[in-house]
Symmetry: C2
Subunit: 373 residues, 2 copies
Amino acid sequence: MIPSPQGPPSTTVHVPLGDRSYEIDITSGLVEHAAARIHEVIPDLSHAIVIADLAVDEPWANQICEGLSTGSQKMRVSRRTVPSGEPSKSIAEFEQLLNWVLEEGGDRRSVVVAVGGGVIGDLAGYVAASFTRGIRFIQIPTTLLAMVDSSVGGKTGVNLPGAKNMVGAFWQPNLVLIDTEVLSTLPERSFLSGLAEVVKYGVIDDAEFFAWLETNSKALIARDSASLRYAIQVSCQCKARVVGEDERETTGRRAILNYGHTFAHAIEATAGYGKLLHGEAVSIGMQMAARLAIDLGLTNETLLQRQTDLLTACQLPTRFPEADPATMLPVMMRDKKVAHGKLRFILPTRLGKVEFVGDLEEAAVVRAIQASR
Amino acid sequence: MIPSPQGPPSTTVHVPLGDRSYEIDITSGLVEHAAARIHEVIPDLSHAIVIADLAVDEPWANQICEGLSTGSQKMRVSRRTVPSGEPSKSIAEFEQLLNWVLEEGGDRRSVVVAVGGGVIGDLAGYVAASFTRGIRFIQIPTTLLAMVDSSVGGKTGVNLPGAKNMVGAFWQPNLVLIDTEVLSTLPERSFLSGLAEVVKYGVIDDAEFFAWLETNSKALIARDSASLRYAIQVSCQCKARVVGEDERETTGRRAILNYGHTFAHAIEATAGYGKLLHGEAVSIGMQMAARLAIDLGLTNETLLQRQTDLLTACQLPTRFPEADPATMLPVMMRDKKVAHGKLRFILPTRLGKVEFVGDLEEAAVVRAIQASR
């Protein structure tokens, strides 16, 4: 953990991936200087393909495009908005974007710039991964969730009907620009949803950070700039380290990031996509996972209590009244992390420490779901 | 060059790509032993997804599926055919296959097996690259063109309307199985078309192999098994070496494989896709490239004459009566290898040696096209 939460106003996190390494800039007021920073990282840039979430086109994508198309290093900018929300992560939208990039004269030297949340980042990233078998890519996340999770790590892709993230590529960005000021326009519920993933990093990797979150939850909810920067920095550092150890999810190490997520995906699917935000489902999913860990004797009630209190302080749901093992279990069995039809979970043993648990009895999972209603 | 064309009945070519390295087996009667060889390379295989060209489903895909689903190491086999021909390389077909793989219960441990020519290999390879962000992949090419070219090197993808191979991924196979016996069912024109790429390797990389081809063209056309094995082996060795030096087409080295291809793509597009086979267009394209090299003073008439004679001996076209600079040049400018709007060519200086030539005057290109009518 970084010693002081009151660091400099600008922080850079390095993602160590050999010749695919990149930096995450975290600061405030970055959007207005985005063009200069992009030019630093990609000096030969002459054509930017900006794909933005309709909801943040004004003011953020607008500012970025203006910066890119004016000034001493001005370049050609193609710009397109995509509707917010999960339905945009489809092969149909992917195809439309690719045809548009071709019409715009995109080539191997063009650079895709994603401006939006996880949906836009995943979709635009997959376009970047696929156009002429891969072009350069910059992430400018505009939701807290995307800042601490989806914009880091190179997972891109779209959904198939009934199966999330089933199609895609690992494609690392060349740069991630995180401007905490952008969060000022983020709706409250979406902002709070992002905090669930922040809490997750504390539980899986960093007890000291978890304690810091307990002390500073009020400042975070008030969107205090320094507190946010620190929370995002620690989250990105954790994710960058794990991704650096297991870029393509082959060693199993990266799976620790899925704490609460096997439950969360089933919660989202049975609630109906869109009813619960992803972070809200993750919040409930972490509760189910903690309860499962207690049931299996891996941890004690104290961890669950502190997790419950912190999530509650973050105004996140900790229970799911409609939780039904009969509908959730089949969805969990279809999860793409299931191997040979066996459920596997990331479960906490103490704050800051998780274990991989496979081959467990279904009854324990059922109890964890039922106890979270 | 390998000293003797009368090698052992089975040859293996290694493709050196670090942790993505793989072997190309070249032999006769391999299809009936394909299952055993696949199990050797992928011991934990339990679900094979066989995607076959409709034209070779009987007898070849049938034999392979039978081998996989019976015997001591039998596994679950999902099988689907795709119509032959370029229109199958579309995002629509890609999407249908992905949905089918999901319905068939494919997961991260499934393996895609492509049985067919370049169209099937590119399409099935892109499905393998994309499903759950990448699963294992085996190429069993059934055309000479696919054996010596598209099945080696990891280029996968589909077309956009009016733009070939515009979408895709670099995704290396885990194994390539080349059975020369399979060529017995290949139509004559398709077989001869494959010889164009074989001749290409002689021109760009290996004067001795070119001379061997001059001596053995009759045996090749008669589909003599030992001669074919040798020609395929030298071709694959050349391609494997170049791909090993420049996997993702970033250093420019891999571009030497495109000798004749910038012209060929424009020939295919202006002739109307499907009118000329790819190898036929490459044959004419190499003639245009050689003429351009002479025009620029890079080489002499002898090279062109020997190339013309060998292509003619292989019953390949060396002229394109409809060649029209006015329609071909705009297509060439749209080629995805064009950088900053400048045409670049791979041109021969002597047999076995090519150079990268950029920034040349359009008039010389026009003359090379006109001289090949």
